[in-house]
Amino acid sequence: MSELINLSLTDQILGLGDKAFSSKEITGAYLNEIKKKESLNCFISVFEEESEEKALIADENIAKNKARPLEGIPIAHKDIFCIKDKKTTCGSKMLSNFISPYSSEVFSKLDTAGAITLGKTNMDEFAMGSSNETSFYGNVLNPINEKLSPGGSSGGSAAAVRANLCSFATATDTGGSIRQPASFCGVTGIKPTYGRVSRWGMIAFASSLDQAGIIAKNAKDAAIALKYMSGFDQKDSTSLNEEVKDLQKEVDADQEHVIGIPKGLIENIKNDQVRDSFKNAISILEKDGAKIEEINLPHIEYSLPAYYVIAPAECSANLARYDGIRFGHRSESVSSLEDLYVNSRTEGFGKEVKNRIFIGTFCLSAGYYDAFYNKALKIRNLIKSDFDEAFKKVSSIAMPTCSNSSFELGSISDPVEMYEQDIYTIPANLAGLPALSIPSGTADEMPIGLQLIGNYLEEGRILNLANKFQKLTDFHEFK
């Protein structure tokens, strides 16, 4: 049955529909693989029995010709999405005992579409990290080379897709947490437009930047999965009340592309292999008929500092609810209210989370607000305008996903060096634009990604371009 897990989502849907195989078979195959590759540490929870039961129901639905769009497809959710009556840890000791009494909209939508949740994937604590090393549950190993990091924060989801432990996985991206691990694991990851997917029930890191998306085997699979996850949700005030386009159709449509490349970008790529691979990817697309234009994004060089003010500021408030009072970790050595707060939070949060709470609290403090937070908001607006201007003449923008391929676990200890992992991915979060990463070559024998950024709500366009690229290349194939 192991060949079933290698199939693309598109082929799995076809095969299930044609009754070439059953959901029971494919679910069983994935569950076996998860057990076999337990040492990768991709999952925090696995729902074995429940998945098997759901597979039987899916097979019945298929038999009765009542199959829903993703009927019987085994998937995984990043452990940042609340699922009713399930442990939802967000990779933290703080929530290691938290059983959610309600479900996230992402889970509900995919569940309603018929997908089977195999389990919940490992992640950096509260989605803060770029290597999956901040997880309370230990780091995930990169399936391609187990000495290396799978990237983060959605490292568990990216590695699970790469290791064929699920058909596709949900993930979240605040500053690159879908795209960077997708790049490191040689898979396709898309962060849609901010507001395209409901944040209801998705544990917040930085509310104005967090966006749920998909990690899949290829652009076509990602398009299908994203289609069933998107849409307006009145429970999320920042959700966009816009029609959901048929991404499945659009990914294969005949579209013209004008690709913008920021001025000075290529020369500034330090890693030769990353630079060559990027140039190669662009020339492949150009040969295929895409127009290439130079664009100006004068303010994106300030993305990283702006992001590392805004995201920690929001996180310092978002994580204030973890106080040991109503849920989550509560310290046992407590003799006063202050002890309860201090000890519960000291014990419950890891080092990186604390770093960011400190940074955020500082940036919002009286006397520093204007110097840091307000200035960061101004930069954010300038970056948005830069993109608006650029999209007047191009239909997508290309950049590398990351300035390097995967690094050795434990090799980066300087937080700022780790933050630089997100240098190419952060601008799309600040502007709220859709962006994806597809495998486009290798550096040091590990995959590297090509990033495509689209205009607002134009997920379909960048997926179409990504699909074109994947028709012309085999970087995305698991070897």
Binding site: T88, Y102, S104, S237, T238, E314, A317, F327, L364
Partner: protein, 479 residues
């Protein structure tokens, strides 16, 4: 020590709980006195992943208040997070407003005897309430009830235009009457629907600059506002005249001991680290929306009072009395719909009915005597069918037993005897039983007149017309 040397400067912050069906950011119902934590959803509990959705009814309530005090209305409503830790504050921040409060500068007029004074309102903004900590339920633990968490508050901030405790009380009464007439709050201070903090400072009468202020918390009745401010003015005068400086601090009013005591100094004050709430998008308020609210504004107390003075020829005092709140005013107008004299209606409502309400510790909307009862009682008095004392008795019977006025008059034999012969017969009986007193009366002991009238009333169970008794007694004395 003398107040003459000092000018108190007072500003009030009034928190009004808005009478919305659901909470400010969740669909939980608002009900006072429900079982603890039964009116709290995952949003009110601040569970991981939840998001606020603004209650439009709260916006419309706030707009009504803004229009009623002729205030500037913000075109854009932005919410902000106010960060502080407290066990009954579930998220570790309160969603409030900092910049662009929904209601900007406005004013109200207060009456001080013959004079009136305009008091400026700086702003009024929407915010969510916290829960309640209960410290006396368990011996070693505190309990938290989150039913109140998330209910809508309108915080109304006055300019420091108030110069005495008396003015502060009048202002508070004015705000109370506006919000209750608008129907945007029940204004029940005993249940915390209206809470008040006062900023108090002193300056020399000719000083331009304000003195150092203290903030008085927890003054939750008209009486306590007065007492707390009087105490605080006194305390500050003593300090200043002893050459001490006033420390800027928050002081708690202890109503049992009638004093204020220091709670925290400025140095210990929270840095709330406000920043724009990223989970909510700015709300636009259109001119049309404001005009619509303005057009549909209910009649406000001073306009109603003026109308009562003009149409019903009520005195200023009487008009004030029946427009004390919306319920009394509509009770009054309903009594008038039965064509009774407005003056009698005022007297009966604000006299005997209010006394009954006080005795039974209830308010007019809970009155067991309805406007029709009052109207019929007045009609019977006006037609001289019952005496005043009988009417009072009747009112008490209706309150405790209910029933129809005409039937009760019959049943209780309260019909007034105005037949001269019948009364004369009883008077003769009284005279013959009290010969000695009658002689004394005849010889000029005038105060015995009341005794004879009283005896007749007693024999007739109060149903004799006192006017007739007096007239007959006079006749007999002059014989």
């Amino acid at each position: 020590m003398s107040l003459n040397n000092w000018q108190p400067v007072i500003g009030l912050e009034v928190h009004v709980q808005l009478a919305t069906k659901t909470k400010l950011f969740s669909s939980s119902p608002i009900a006072f006195g429900a079982e603890p934590n039964t009116q709290a959803s995952e949003i009110d509990l601040g569970l991981p992943g939840v998001l606020p959705v603004l209650n439009k009814e709260a916006i419309s309530h706030a707009l009504k208040f803004g229009c009623a005090i002729n205030a500037e209305i913000s075109e854009k409503v932005i919410f902000a997070r106010k960060n502080y830790f407290y066990p009954d504050l579930p998220k570790g921040y309160q969603i409030s407003q900092l910049d662009d409060p929904i209601v900007g500068k406005g004013s109200v007029e207060i009456k001080l005897g013959e004079k009136s004074k305009i008091i400026g309102v700086t702003r009024a903004h929407l915010e969510e309430d916290a829960g309640k900590s209960i410290h006396d339920l368990y011996s070693n633990n505190s309990a938290i009830d989150l039913n109140r968490a998330g209910t809508c508050l309108l915080e109304i901030v006055s300019e420091p235009d108030l110069s005495s405790a008396e003015e502060a009380v009048e202002y508070l009464k004015k705000i109370h009457s506006i919000v209750t007439f608008l129907g945007i709050s029940d204004g029940d201070m005993s249940q915390g629907s209206m809470r008040c903090d006062a900023n108090v400072s002193l300056k020399r009468p000719n000083d331009q600059e304000l003195g150092t202020r203290t903030e008085l918390k927890n003054i939750n009745s008209f009486k306590f506002v007065e007492k707390a401010i009087i105490f605080e003015i006194d305390r500050q005068i003593k300090e200043l005249e002893n050459g001490e400086k006033i420390i800027q601090e928050t002081r708690l009013y202890d109503s049992k001991k009638n004093l204020t005591r220091s709670m925290r100094s400025k140095e210990e004050a929270n840095d709330y680290r406000y920043f724009p709430e990223p989970d909510l998008i700015p709300i636009k308020i259109s001119k049309d929306q404001i005009n619509d609210v303005r057009r549909n504004l209910p009649e406000l107390p001073e306009i109603m009072k003026e109308r009562f003075m003009n149409s019903y020829e009520l005195s200023d005092d009487n008009a004030e009395l029946v427009t004390i709140n919306k319920e009394t005013a509509s009770f009054f107008e309903e009594v008038l719909s039965y064509k009774v004299s407005p003056k009698n209606a005022v007297n009966w409502i604000t006299g005997d009915l209010f006394a009954l309400l006080n005795k039974n510790d209830t308010n007019i909307s809970e009155s067991k005597v309805n406007p029709k009862h009052i109207a019929e009682i007045i009609q019977n008095i006006e037609d001289q069918k019952i005496s005043g004392p009988s009417a009072k008795k009747l009112l008490e019977i209706v309150w405790s037993e209910g029933g129809k006025i005409q039937e009760l008059i019959q049943k209780e034999g309260l019909e007034q005897i105005s037949n001269d012969d019948e009364i004369e017969k009883i008077l003769d009986e009284v005279i013959s039983e009290n010969q000695k007193q009658f002689e004394q009366l005849k010889s000029g002991k005038d105060r015995l007149q009341g005794f004879f009238v009283g005896q007749v009333m007693k024999k007739t169970s109060g149903s004799a017309s006192p006017q007739v008794v007096n007239k007959l007694l006079k006749d007999k004395l002059s014989k």
